[in-house]
């Protein structure tokens, strides 16, 4: 038998998300009247990561959207967490940017305290605990990858705070296109060139088949002791060259009559 409501709601500390529900109601009311509230900038996105023989390769597209408009044609979605750990972010751009910066800062302090290079699992724990605390209201879907003393690791982290540790992951609106490429061509213990090609192709699949992803392909290759941040790794969408010119030379339209008016402006 399912009991329903608890009668006594004593103050339990922590966050209250009551206003979020109120805002949702207000938003629905506004929409009914025909207006729309400003859209948050999202990174529509295709992000992915793969574990290969010597480390991990992370990849991302570079389009940031505000509703149906491209806000940034070349934004950077691979964020620094620590010298050996990087994180791709999909979802609300502000959320991914801030979340990764906060965890990067805390991880640096932690690393100084332990005297060791930080572990990917630590970054994962910090991120999942923070996102769970905010119950999904921080719209950050992340692909976290890096190499530490335990080896190369790759995690996918969802906005509600669940994580999966896998050999290959994709996130974002273009994730289905990218996952199709991975499921077809992934093999364990690939060489670096093959892994980079695979990630490049997966992101390309997202760029060309998903409206929310576009522009260039950024890659980040992390191995033990070295990080290659390749931005851009592949310019998949070059801006076209204008073939026509609408500029008119001086003297194209002759000025036959001159009228001069003197105007006085009291100062």
């Amino acid at each position: 038998i399912m009991a329903t409501v608890s009668v006594c709601q004593y103050h339990r500390g922590g966050f209250s998300f009551e206003n979020c529900k109120r805002n949702a109601l207000l938003e629905a009311d506004i929409n009914k009247l025909g207006f729309s509230s400003p859209a948050a900038r999202k990174t529509g996105t295709t992000i992915c990561g793969v574990v290969y023989k010597d480390g991990v390769v992370l990849g991302a597209d570079t389009r940031a959207t505000e509703g149906m408009v491209v806000a940034d044609k070349n934004c950077s979605k691979i964020h620094y967490i620590s010298p050996n750990v990087y994180c791709c972010g999909a979802g609300t751009a502000a959320d991914t940017e801030m979340t990764t910066q906060i965890i990067s800062s805390n991880l640096e302090l932690h690393s100084l305290s332990t005297g060791r290079l930080p572990r990917v699992a630590t970054a994962n724990r910090m991120l999942k605990q923070m996102l769970f605390r905010y119950q999904g209201y921080i719209g950050a879907a992340l692909v976290l990858g890096g190499v530490d003393s335990t080896g190369p690791q790759l995690y996918s982290i969802y906005p509600h705070g669940s994580t999966d540790k896998l050999p290959y992951v994709t996130m974002g609106s273009g994730s289905l296109a990218a996952m199709a490429v991975f499921e077809d061509r992934y093999r364990p213990n690939m060489e670096e060139e093959e892994a980079k090609r695979l990630v490049r192709d997966a992101i390309a699949a997202g760029i060309f088949n998903d409206l929310g992803s576009g522009s260039n392909i950024d890659l980040c290759v992390i191995t033990k002791g070295k990080v290659d941040y390749l931005r851009p790794h592949d310019v998949a969408n070059k801006k076209g060259v204008r073939t026509g010119n609408y500029r008119y030379k001086h003297g194209t339209t002759d000025d036959t009559t001159h009228h001069t008016l003197t105007c006085f402006f009291p100062l």
């Binding site: 998300f17 209201y137 879907a141 996918s156 969802y158 509600h160 705070g161 999966d164 896998l166």
Partner: protein
């Protein structure tokens, strides 16, 4: 560790029990009119967005919560327990992880099977692992399975309005041998010789009730669990992938995986 957050509406979770729940906001904070409106709105995802025009077929990351649709099961036998789970995690209609490990170690000889919201169950399991580890160090002996189950129950009951978690706790301890405790949605805790859970469990109650016998051996329990989970995975859309099994006994934990093509075969309908 506190989980003091207000429940955010979930969509795409396949646990049937959820649809029967009635949620109302905190008493006394709103007028009755608003309360009624709130009750209706709470059925929808709380983070309503004007910018989500995407097709329902693929997930919008800020809205759909990741759910371990699931079929999980645990059986006691003389000398230990056998636990099993499928390996599918879904976000709406998309399978986010097809090789999930839903058998989570809480202590050396105590495991839990997770069903419901992936985020909630992972967070609860992490918290209980910490609490039980601390308790075990204080006691300087192996913790009881009942203790682990009680910790799960306390958390699941206290935060029942905010959580969506159905958990089966199973393990071996020196005092009472192999034990299975079930902590379903809502926070009840009870010991059972065999327990099934998750969205796929509805389809196999009949099979389990008719095929379970007390006093089965370890191999018989493994076969029983594998077959039951296969049947559940066959019929439940939110369950699938591989079958993960584990045997917990005094000797320790033996894990195995049964891949898709190796699953027991039943007559194809």
């Amino acid at each position: 560790m506190h989980f003091t957050v207000v429940f955010s509406g979930l969509s795409g979770v396949c646990d049937r029990l959820r649809q029967a729940r009635v949620r109302t906001p905190a008493a006394g904070s709103f007028s009755n009119v608003v309360k009624l409106k709130m009750a209706a709105v709470l059925q929808f995802p709380a983070s309503v967005s004007t910018f989500n025009n995407y097709n329902d077929l693929y997930p919008d990351w800020t809205q759909t919560e990741v759910s371990t649709g699931t079929s999980i099961m645990a059986v006691e036998f003389e000398g230990g327990v056998v636990i099993g789970a499928d390996s599918r995690t879904t976000t709406g209609a998309y399978i986010a992880n097809r090789v999930t490990d839903k058998l989570t170690p809480i202590h050396e000889r105590i495991f839990c099977c997770r069903s419901g919201s992936a985020a909630d169950t992972q967070a609860i399991a992490d918290a209980v692992t910490y609490q039980l580890g601390f308790h075990s160090i204080e006691l300087d002996e192996a913790p009881l399975v009942q203790t682990a189950a009680s910790l799960f129950r306390d958390m699941c009951y206290r935060y029942r309005e905010e959580l969506m978690a159905g958990i089966i706790v199973a393990g071996w301890d020196p005092r009472r041998g192999g034990q299975v405790y079930t902590v379903p949605v809502g926070g009840m805790m009870t010991r059972q010789p065999v327990s099934v859970g998750g969205s796929g469990s509805s389809y196999i109650y009949g099979y389990v009730d008719s095929n379970y016998r007390a006093g089965m051996s370890k191999e018989e329990c493994l076969k029983f669990t594998a077959e039951a989970l296969t049947l559940a995975m066959e019929r439940d859309g939110s369950s699938g992938g591989v079958v993960r099994l584990a045997v917990i006994s005094e000797q320790g934990v033996e894990r195995q995986v049964i891949l898709g093509n190796q699953l027991p075969k039943f007559s194809t309908v």
